[in-house]
Structure formats: structure tokens, C-alpha cells
Symmetry: C2
Subunit: 361 residues, 2 copies
């Protein structure tokens, strides 16, 4: 087992990364009160809810379950309110703990509920997908979607501990494993060319679910993210680099409707678009663009989106949070492993990058 | 004009207190971006929205209005969502400012919306009721109600500036002026016997709406609250003193239904119950209990609630946030002007204090 400490001043917390992690030993110290609300979805509930519920009950905790429906389309205000209903119906107070057991959607919703219930209660994350192990474990971003935009409503809420158990990835559908790999590849592309080489070497093992390789990839990705987030907790500068591929990706997700494509799939294609634009700007070579596409393909990720009318694509892009005073900033690559935040790009080239990476009708 | 600085580390902000405050000079420096959403209600809109909208538009800002229905019963998730709808329909980004123009309900909802929209945007408070000038101006508590409890969902969100204009109190119904005085009297009862003497001397002028006296009372109350909050921003200790009368008061509000009694009316009776219990415990004299009742009566506030079955009253009390691990703590008086947080009280005496201060059926 590896432990990564995320340093955020007085809100330092550990991420435990390994296989078959010990709940009694590792989780218990972080449950400060007596009441635990496990927030999960109807898929994960059947797989792992019992294990956590029984272990915590055996340790003397009052444990309740709040089971939401599985899927990004349920990440809205209505389903968030079901968590508040469950907490209040259980009579839970401000000493309670909210434990997120599931993927990114559950982590986002349970985290926002933990941030808002009684203006903030203890929060623990048990991410059960590869994507959420690398994405939601670090950074404290929580939130819900709105019909007019993704993650538009939320809070910064740091967990007291994150429990990333590779053994729980066994039940993950291959498509979701790939979506997690998209996020892992992102860390390589934005800041670590050696990690990119490591991923190129081990992609076959990763795709086959090798737990040791996955743990190493999760550890490295989380360490990258933790370093960036510690420098810039509230996303005023460097942290925006983590959005490589996201402005394009969000447009794809918004157009297709939340949940049709997985987040990881959308940002994989989004990163290809960002690389394409970077290549047109002369910042990366044609060979690097191909290298980018190949690593995503080997991770079984889409590198082109369905046809989307350009006007609509652009409309969705400017609804994205990265627009400051109407000025669109993008995360682009000034080299492989070297992302930058910039508004100095050619708008026509940007449109071309979108068109280039769509499937033909 | 007086200026009170609330000290919260890097989130220091001023409260401007006076009559006919200058928007251009005092407000403009705190609007960092170009987009301003004025959140108000349908009563306040008619009185003051135009003034703020025109002044800010003349200064080059894009100003939109979000008008909610007036009343505590609208302080819920559904109406909160109307603010998000307005922000997103206007295409506002994370550089925008949310300006709360109204009483406590508007401040709570707009503040929570500002805390949650894009995970936090700039927030300005223009409280237009006496209660909100002393209560919501300091402390950063924002939130909404849930059918199972008051203020159960929310965030700590500090404004960048508060604008307390006594001239705006002219339009306030007498009942709401009294409700504000309840909160002002609270600061005297919990920690400042000299302020209590000052209030006893000036109560007639205050009730008549004397702006200079009101400004002084608001300044003193905010200064008290600011000192307490600066010591204990997240309510782990001393800040709980501010809840004098609130556990009883919330039970009254919950039973009657939100908005039937004003918050200030409920806590006035709640403080009488707390004083009654304190008197039974031998901590304050019979004369002090009478003094407490008299100051509330002179402020035209109720000192007894309608008949509420004791069982239900207690049920509503333990749903209150001040219950830690099932152990009820109350804010009581160990002397006039000297409140304490304690669980060391006689339960039968508490029940008696509730029964003593109800109207007979």
C-alpha cells in the first residue's frame, strides 16, 4: 500500500492506495462522530455497500445508506436533495460523516452534500472507479450539473481521507477503465513526458486491469494533481492546467447530453482537439499529435466525436467556466508534457481543430 | 457614516453604516468583474432595485435582476435554483458579483447561491431590514430551509462588503423593525449590560425609527458579533452564544410553519424561555427575568408563544443543529449580559420554562 499526503495547510489528508485496504485500521480514525451516511448508487450498492456498512457497524457506528440512481444524468439538484432528505430523516447532526462510495458522480454529489449539510460535515471518499480515484480524490471540487452547464453549482470540499482500493476496480466495465486512463494520460500530457513513456510501455497491462500497475498509475497521477492543487487550491492559476481537453470535452458532453459519453471519453477527444490546435499553432510537431492520438487509441478511447454543428459546439464552449469576461482561454500544449493556459491562439485554427476531429456524417 | 471592519484573516471586509450611502464611491470598488446579479424580492424590488441597477449600469456594469417572492417560506431549494437559472441564462461567469438586496431571506439565499455558483463568486450584501443589518451582515452564514429543519443546508460565505443604509428602513413595517430590535437586544443580554442600559434609555426613539439611534444600535451589535465571529468563524465554540433563544425560537418557528412568526419574534420569546430557565436554575434573579421581558415588550415583541404540545416542542428542539451526539446544549444566562453554553440544566425546569411562556388556550 502507498500513502499520498495532500498538503492543504490545516486540511492535510491522506490518500491510501492499494488492494484490499483495511477498513478498521485505515478508515476508522477519520470518522469523528457516531453517525455515518454512506452515499452510493444502485450499481455499487450491490457490490460493496454491505462490506462498509457491516465493518463500520461492528465498530459501533450508526450507519445509514442513501442509494441514488447510477449515472451522470442524475447529478442534479433533485437527487442532491435526496441526500439531504436521508440525512435529516435519519436525524443526523453536524458531527456526522458523509462517506461517498462510488464514482465521480457520487463523489461530487456526496461531497457537495457534505459541504452544505449544516454548512459542512465530515467527508470521506471511497472512489470505486479508476477515473474518480485519480480525478475526484484530489482537489476538493464537488458539485452538480444544471441544464445550462456542467458542474455549475458546487463547493470546494476537502475529504478527511480517500480510500483508493484497486481490488474494487475488478467489477469496473472496460469502458470505464478506459475513461479513467484518459485522465491518467492527461497528467502525462500536461506535465510529465517520462510518465507518458511509462504509460506507453505499460498500456497493455493497464488495460488488462493489472492492480500493481494501476496502483502505480493512480499514485503518480494523484501526486501530480496534489502538487498542482496545493499550489493553487481555488483555481486562480496553475490549477487550470488540469482542464486540458475539458473545454472541448464539456462541449461534446453538453451536446450529446450528460452521460451519453463518459467524461473520460469526452476529454480524450477534447485533448486530441487541443493537441490538434497546438500542432496548427506550430507548438507541437505532427509526430507528437500522432503520438497523442495513439496513446488514447491504445487505451481504447475515442479520438473523434460525432458530428456537431460548429455553431453549437462554440456556444457550448463559451458556457464553460474557463471563459473570463467573454475572453476564451484554452489549455494547450507548448510541447508534449508541457501544457499552458493561453488566450493567444488563432480562432480559425481552433474551429479547424474541432472539425478535424469529428466523425464524418 | 461609520465603518466597521470585520477581521477574518485574508477575508477582511467593511460594513458601511449610515444614511443615504454613496453607491458610486463605496460600492464600486468591491465589484471586481463586469457582471452583477441583483437578487431581491418582489417587495424590495419596487423600492430600491432601480436605484442600484441604474447606478451600477451608469458605472458600466452589466446588471441583471433576479426577483424572488417575498417570505421565509420561499427560502428553499426550489427558489435557490431560480437564482442559478438567472445566472446561467444571463451567461454570467465566475467573475460575476451576486448582490443581495433585501432582508435575511434574500441574504441567505443569495449568499448560498454566491457560495455555490461556479463553486464561489463575489458576494455583496445590501441588507434592507434592521434584522438583516445586524444579523446577516456579520458571520457569513448562508443557507436554505428543508421541510425537516431550518437552515439545514448552506455554506459559510463572507461578503466582500456590506452596505447598511438606515434610510432604507423608512419603508420597513413596524413589526419588522421590532424583529430587528429583538436581535439587537440579544447582543445586550448575551454580553453587554451597558448596552442593555443604553437600549432601555433609547427604546422609544428606536421604535420610532430615529436613524441616528438605529445606526448606533446596528454598529454596536455588528461590532459585538464581529468580535465573536472573528474568534470562532466556523462555530466550534464561543459563536454558539449568538444562538441565545434560538433553540427555543426555532421550535416555535418550525411548529407554526416558517414565516408565520418573524424570526425576531420567535427568538424574543425564545430568549424569554432561556431567561426563565436561567431564573429557575438560580442563575439570574426574578427581577432580571422581568427586566428581560420588559425590554422585549417595549420593543413591541411577543414574550409568549401560542400553545404548542410539549412533546412536539421538544421534538423540534432536538432537530436543531445545537444537538451534539444527542446531548442537548442550550445558551443560558449566568447573569444579565453574561450568556453561557451549557448542557448542565434541569430538564424539568426546561419543560417548565416552555410551558410558562405560552399563551393559555
Amino acid at each position: 500500500m502507498q500513502t499520498l499526503h495532500v498538503e492543504l495547510g490545516d486540511r492535510r489528508y491522506p490518500i491510501f492506495i492499494g488492494s484490499h485496504l483495511n477498513i478498521n485500521e485505515l478508515l476508522l480514525p477519520y470518522i469523528t462522530g457516531h453517525q455515518v451516511m454512506i452515499v452510493t448508487n444502485d450499481t455499487v450498492e450491490k457490490l460493496y455497500a454491505n462490506t462498509y456498512q457491516q465493518a463500520l457497524q461492528a465498530l459501533g457506528k450508526t450507519v445509514k445508506l442513501c442509494v441514488l440512481r447510477d449515472g451522470e444524468k442524475y447529478k442534479n439538484l433533485e437527487n442532491l436533495n435526496l441526500i439531504f432528505d436521508a440525512l435529516l430523516q435519519a436525524g443526523f447532526n453536524r458531527d456526522c460523516t458523509v462517506l461517498a462510495l462510488g464514482g465521480g458522480v457520487i463523489g461530487d454529489m456526496a461531497g457537495f452534500a457534505a459541504a452544505s449539510f449544516q454548512r459542512g460535515v465530515n467527508f470521506i471518499q471511497v472512489p470505486t472507479t479508476l477515473l474518480s480515484q485519480v480525478d475526484s480524490s484530489v482537489g476538493g471540487k464537488t458539485g452538480i450539473n444544471h441544464p445550462l452547464g456542467k458542474n455549475m453549482i458546487g463547493a470546494f470540499k476537502q475529504p478527511s481521507v480517500v480510500f483508493a482500493d484497486m481490488a474494487q476496480l475488478k467489477s469496473l466495465p472496460p469502458r470505464e477503465l478506459s475513461a479513467g486512463l484518459a485522465e491518467i494520460i492527461k497528467y502525462a500530457l500536461l506535465g510529465d513526458i517520462e510518465f507518458l513513456a511509462w504509460l506507453e510501455m505499460h498500456m497493455d497491462g493497464l488495460i488488462q486491469g493489472d492492480e500493481a500497475l494501476l496502483a502505480e498509475a493512480v499514485y503518480r497521477s494523484c501526486a501530480h494533481k496534489a502538487r498542482i492543487v496545493a499550489n493553487d487550491e481555488k483555481e486562480h492559476g496553475e490549477r487550470a492546467l488540469l482542464n486540458l481537453g475539458h473545454t472541448f470535452g464539456h462541449a461534446i458532453e453538453s451536446y450529446l447530453g450528460y452521460g451519453v459519453w463518459l467524461h473520460g471519453e469526452a476529454i480524450a477527444t477534447g485533448m486530441v482537439m487541443a493537441a490538434d490546435l497546438s500542432c496548427q499553432m506550430g507548438w507541437i510537431s505532427e509526430a507528437d499529435l500522432i503520438r497523442t492520438k495513439v496513446i488514447f487509441q491504445r487505451a481504447q478511447l475515442p479520438i473523434a466525436c460525432p458530428p456537431i454543428p460548429l455553431e453549437q459546439f462554440l456556444e457550448y464552449m463559451v458556457h464553460d467556466k474557463k471563459v473570463l469576461n467573454g475572453q476564451l482561454r484554452l489549455i494547450l500544449m507548448k510541447g508534449v508534457g508541457q501544457a499552458v493556459i493561453t488566450k493567444e491562439f488563432n480562432l480559425e485554427a481552433m474551429k479547424q481543430a474541432i472539425v478535424n476531429n469529428q466523425l464524418k456524417e
